[in-house]
């Protein structure tokens, strides 16, 4: 089995399948395994089973060690750039380390795609100036590369990513001048917003960024409030002295490889946009190809872990390696997944996921 993407979903799929007797190759285009976990320096929410209270960076390290010690072969700095019927993966290795790549063709009986998500952009006059960046990019700079992207930051978007990256920018020594949120309510968890408010960061709801100023880089931003008819309120227009504008406007499934493989896609606004259709075993419309994690709908690391386990287990089962407990285990994973999709934040995702699976049950044949 080949797994593409060594974030929480890919690592979990690889571990699960390897433990059940498959030979697993896990490939990731980055130099380090862990996906987005390697920049999550905060303690995670969730339940005891999902290691809540542990920092994401530590979960990444533990999962990677577990994968390696259970016998998973890991290729880092390995970019899958093509996928053919078979399935066969075409992989470029060593681009980051050597700037030249060697090409490998990998034939796999089963493939789990766990390619994650990418950040949404917001365009406004000045948005191409250096200093305007995704919040995720700023997070990589501070927590992985240890470079402060700027000293005075405007955060656009108050979902959990916007709130968490704001907090981490403060920890890294920057000032966050304000968070603007175009909706009338804060998007992310109240405990995250409370944390950054306590640190003195204003959160301006029903506000948006109008333009970025600057000659060769960001030197300021103009923001304005909207009334309930989405018209700008002129007297609220103000200039902010900032050198960085971070965009935290949500994520979308990174579905290019899945589309290339011929997986049927479905549009789910709640889950981030176009994503591969899958059934309750995480199997797609293409025989032998499974998906998990943010690619299968943008959610959280804990759901990615569980979906990865489910995909790995289902793939093993389809090759006769599920083991005697496969059915029970799948049931308990699904139970844990449904527990992660309750409450005011989870309900919409639960409904959207059932819609996807309903379609999936029709068009995704068992691998």
């Amino acid at each position: 089995m080949a797994v593409v993407g060594a974030g929480p979903a890919g690592l979990a799929a690889a571990i699960e399948a390897q433990k059940r007797g498959l030979n697993v190759l896990l490939v990731d285009m980055n130099l380090k395994a862990g996906g987005q976990l390697i920049k999550q320096i905060h303690k995670f929410f969730g339940s005891h089973e999902h290691r809540a209270g542990t920092r994401g960076i530590d979960i990444a390290r533990d999962l990677y060690e577990e994968a390696v010690s259970s016998g998973v072969e890991v290729w880092l700095d390995a970019a899958v750039y093509a996928i053919y019927p078979g399935p066969v993966l075409e992989i470029a290795r060593g681009i980051l380390a050597t700037r030249t790549a060697s090409k490998e063709m990998v034939h796999a009986s089963r493939v789990v795609l766990a390619t994650g998500a990418s950040e949404n952009a917001v365009s406004f006059p000045g948005w191409t100036l250096p200093g305007v960046m995704g919040a995720g990019a700023a997070q990589t700079m501070i927590n992985v590369e240890r470079v402060l992207p700027g000293k005075r930051v405007l955060m656009v978007g108050s979902g959990n990513v916007g709130l968490i990256v704001t907090y981490q920018l403060l920890q890294a020594g920057a000032e966050v001048v304000a968070i603007v949120e175009v909706a009338p309510k804060i998007g992310g968890y109240g405990v995250h917003s409370a944390k950054v408010r306590r640190a003195g960061v204003p959160i301006l709801t029903s506000y948006t960024v109008l333009r970025a100023f600057g000659d060769r880089q960001v030197e300021g931003a103009e923001i304005v409030a909207y009334d309930e008819h989405h018209n700008p309120i002129e007297e609220t227009r103000q200039f902010l002295d900032v050198d960085t504008i971070c965009i935290a406007a949500g994520l979308k499934p990174y579905a290019k490889l899945a589309a290339l493989a011929g997986c049927e896609l479905i549009y789910s606004p709640v889950l981030g946009g176009w994503m591969p259709v899958h059934d309750e075993n995480m199997h797609t419309s293409v025989p032998g190809i499974y998906v998990a994690g943010d690619l299968a709908g943008v959610e959280e690391a804990s759901t990615a872990l569980e979906e990865g386990r489910l995909a790995g287990l289902s793939a093993a089962e389809s090759l006769g390696k599920g083991g005697p407990d496969a059915a029970d285990e799948k049931e308990s994973i699904r139970e844990r997944l449904s527990m992660l999709r309750i409450g005011p934040f989870g309900k919409a995702r639960a409904d959207a996921k059932s819609e996807v699976i309903k379609v999936g049950e029709k068009i995704c044949r068992a691998g």
Binding site: K43, G190, V191, P344
Partner: protein, 172 residues
């Protein structure tokens, strides 16, 4: 104008007082107690395991708000660093005749030092009074979340929930 957690970003007094994690005034009068400022149903329960006396219950489903058993709670503060949301505090309104103490999680460097006079802030991050640092607790089990305890005027015990970040390098 609507207010509250989803607009202001922090809970109002009303939201706090009707949540099951907020101690009663009678309990405050009897000494240090955990103040759980978690008023939104999110899937999270590490506080439940953190308490050695089982004074915080989440139960099933995991989105239940944490319920404080104020009789069992001794105000030991172990839960403060274990809450991923940094939403638990310990308040001691009996600290002295004139002062109360407030303990809160603090994840910035440099840390304050014992005896420092610091700027105490409320939930909105506004400086509301001076505070004196009584102690800083950062054992291994806190996993790098320091818990800072400051003394503030008694009347500020319900307001103060942190300090203004200390800026600049500090050697030694």
């Amino acid at each position: 104008m609507p207010r509250g957690l989803t607009v202001d970003g922090f809970p109002t007094e009303e939201e706090l007082k009707k949540s099951p994690g907020y101690p009663s005034e009678e309990r405050f009068k009897r000494g240090p107690v955990a103040v759980v400022e978690c008023v939104q149903e999110i899937p999270c329960n590490p506080c439940e395991l953190a308490c050695p006396r089982k004074a915080i219950q989440v139960g099933v489903p995991i989105t239940n708000l944490p319920r404080l058993d104020e009789e069992k709670c001794t105000g030991c503060g172990i839960c403060v660093a274990r809450c991923p949301g940094l939403a638990i505090f310990v308040v001691d309104k009996t600290y002295s005749d004139k002062e109360a103490s407030v303990s809160f999680p603090y994840e910035y460097v440099p840390l304050p030092r014992e005896g420092d006079v610091v700027l105490a802030v409320d939930r909105a991050g506004s400086v509301v009074c001076d505070g004196t640092v009584l102690r800083i607790s950062n054992p291994k089990r806190n996993d790098r979340t320091a818990v800072v305890t400051i003394a503030v005027p008694k009347g500020m015990a319900d307001e103060v929930r942190g300090i203004a970040r200390i800026r600049g390098e500090r050697i030694g």
